[in-house]
């Protein structure tokens, strides 16, 4: 295995991790602050992907696509928050699971009705269709752009959370939700805002994933479940935990898929390696999660201390 392959796969892992972070950032705050289990976060990602693909296709501008994805996911996120989600905050988690599971069924079917079951393929925008030369390696500019956007969002959310008043409330809310409402803050507004921003980030992730993955009904759930793994590893409610965990999961998953079969081939017969390699690789992030939980049930970077 060459160094070039390793670096390219590391970057792929990073790019996947960054996408996971965009999904995990909003979701972990909704979990942490509102104690709400949102399975429909994957649907918001799917909505972003469709809105992005359609607006990009119609306008020819990828930027317009991204903006449309943000707007659509934000709008639908807010509508869901006001009509359904906000009524469930005080209920137990089972009701959250049930309601958002119903929403997932609905949105997946709605997308199938509107745009059919077959995937939509999205072109990489012209500007980013080339490659970047980096110390002698070449790497897709588009994937680089995804990494860059993800890092910008990570830095931005860190500043927002640690340097602003809203961020202070969010942090306080993640550690002690009762306290925040006792402070006289309009908790309903804060919740809606958080949910909306989380939805918007999911929409961005969907739109950016469009040219890399296929856009189709049900695309949100596999990535949602990996996002849940990220959140559990990072510690529920912790945005910085979600960031590190997303990168770890992205890299472990990507490298595992490429290198585990290769490594096994060195160790055992080819036929066994070919059978066991993909099996082990597909389990790697879950094994990682189980190991983390066995050692630290509250995750690697828990938001609540004490």
């Amino acid at each position: 295995m060459s160094l070039t392959l390793l670096v390219a796969q590391l970057l792929n892992g990073l790019q996947y991790g960054v996408l996971l972070f965009l999904l995990a950032a909003g979701l972990t705050l909704v979990f942490g602050v509102m104690s709400f289990v949102n399975l429909a976060h994957g649907s918001l990602y799917m909505i972003g992907a469709y809105a992005g693909a359609l607006a990009y296709g119609a306008s020819g501008s990828f930027a317009v696509g991204i903006l449309a994805a943000m707007a659509a996911a934000l709008a639908i996120g807010l509508v869901l928050e006001v009509t359904i989600v906000s009524r469930l905050y005080r209920r137990d988690h089972l009701d959250h699971v049930l309601a958002t599971f119903g929403l997932v069924m609905f949105f997946n079917e709605l997308v199938r009705i509107l745009w059919g079951p077959q995937p939509i393929f999205v072109q990489v925008p012209d500007v980013l269709s080339g490659t970047v030369d980096l110390f002698g390696f070449t790497y897709s500019s588009y994937r680089f752009a995804i990494i860059a956007v993800g890092l910008v969002v990570a830095v931005g959310s860190r500043l927002l959370i640690h340097k602003t008043r809203i961020g202070m409330l969010i942090r306080a809310g993640a550690q002690n939700p009762q306290l925040v409402s006792a402070l006289g803050v309009n908790i309903g507004l804060l919740n809606a805002l958080l949910f909306g921003v989380g939805a918007m980030l999911a929409g961005v992730a969907g739109a950016m994933a469009g040219p890399v993955l296929s856009v189709q009904s049900g695309m949100g759930e596999p990535v949602l479940i990996t996002t849940l793994v990220v959140i559990v590893i990072g510690g529920i409610g912790s945005v910085s935990g979600a960031f590190y965990a997303a990168l770890i999961v992205g890299v472990v998953d990507t490298l595992g898929r490429v290198f585990l079969p290769l490594i096994l081939r060195q160790l055992t017969e080819r036929s066994i390696a070919d059978a066991a390699g993909p099996a082990l690789a597909s389990m790697s992030v879950y094994v990682l999660m189980a190991a983390v939980l066995a050692l630290r049930p509250q995750g690697l970077f828990p938001a609540r201390r004490g």
């Binding site: 137990d92 009701d95 997932v104 079917e109 559990v232 939980l293």
Partner: protein, 331 residues
């Protein structure tokens, strides 16, 4: 709570339905409609799985979003045994139940270290792990699944025909409903239900809530695997889609729709789920676009389920005492 006799609507209506289901294969062959038997067999099997989930979810308050895994383990126990030429139903059952117990023990031990949200996500993630594991095992069909060449044989009794599976599923369902009724008020069930309401107190009176929950989770997984064995025989086919995360969600929907924590709720929920699906499919292929919002409405408003509604009927009957205040459905 204790109204006059056992002849309350919440008891006799489910029992009547159960009795009527016993004659479905006879009626179906009389009308020459073999599809009816297969359709209701599926309901019986999912009713078994939902009842099994109810032990953990309803009695124990453990929101497992990964019970499809145990269903899949049961199904693949049959599929893999048959693939390797093992036809004994007893062995199928043994492999299914033992594998499910082992998996549930590991998953339960890890996920019960956490609670609430993390528990939901972890059970979901483990089920997903099983799903991707089976998808990647190309030797056993991978994504495409595996035909079950030889169905489970219990001595002279072979689960090769739809009606054989049907009667077996009916018996298993009756057995599990009876067990659930017994366990509910036995010390184990009381401790388990107590731990859902007030876990701290269960420890304070000298019972180990953690152990009680873990055992409930394992038993629940084992019973679910039995449903998987039946399912593999019914379809003569197994595929990773049995373990899809949506199946775990559907099992939860059945439990809540029917009445969480009640004896007959999961059975009633499974019945309504599939009948509703069938009816909606008659109108549109996009039935999920209607069913999804129904599930949302159930979460918002219908939390006591069909069994809760039947219990309300109990109270409407002329009774000497003052009307009962509706007890809180869940903590």
């Amino acid at each position: 709570m204790k109204t006059s006799s056992a002849f309350r609507p919440s008891t006799w209506i489910p029992l009547l339905l159960l009795g009527l289901l016993a004659i479905v294969p006879t009626v179906a062959s009389g009308f020459d409609q073999p599809y009816w038997t297969a359709f209701f067999a599926r309901i019986l099997i999912y009713a078994v799985a939902a009842s099994a989930l109810n032990l953990a979810l309803g009695y124990g308050g453990l929101v497992s979003f990964g019970h499809a895994l145990f269903l899949g383990i049961g199904a693949y126990a049959v599929g893999l045994c048959a693939f390797h030429g093992i036809g004994s139903g007893w062995l199928h059952l043994l492999v299914a139940v033992a594998a499910a117990a082992a998996a549930a023990l590991v998953i339960g031990a890890i996920s019960l270290r956490t609670s609430g949200m993390a528990f939901i996500m972890i059970t979901l993630a483990f089920a997903q792990m099983g799903y991707f594991l089976l998808v990647s095992l190309k030797h056993y069909g991978g994504d495409d699944g595996l035909s079950v060449g030889s169905t489970s044989r219990f001595g002279p009794f072979d689960l090769g025909s739809t009606s054989a599976v049907y009667y077996a599923a009916w018996l298993v369902l009756v057995a599990i409903l009876w067990s659930m009724a017994r366990v509910r008020v036995a010390p184990f069930g009381m401790a388990l239900r107590g731990a859902r309401q007030n876990v701290k107190r269960v420890d304070a009176i000298g019972l180990q809530a953690h152990h009680v929950r873990l055992v409930a989770f394992v038993l629940s997984g084992m019973a679910c695997a039995v449903a998987g064995v039946l399912l593999a025989n019914l379809n003569a086919f197994v595929s990773p889609s049995t373990l899809a995360w949506t199946v775990s969600g559907e099992l939860i929907v059945m439990v809540v729709l029917g009445g969480i924590g009640t004896v007959f709720g999961p059975f009633l929920g499974a019945l309504l789920f599939f009948v509703l699906e069938e009816v909606l499919k008659g109108f549109t292929e996009h039935w999920m676009a209607v069913f999804g919002p129904v599930v949302v409405l159930v979460a918002l408003f219908g939390r006591r389920g069909i069994a809760g509604w039947l219990e309300a009927l109990n109270r409407k009957r002329p009774s000497p005492g003052p009307p009962d205040i509706v007890a809180p459905g869940r903590a």
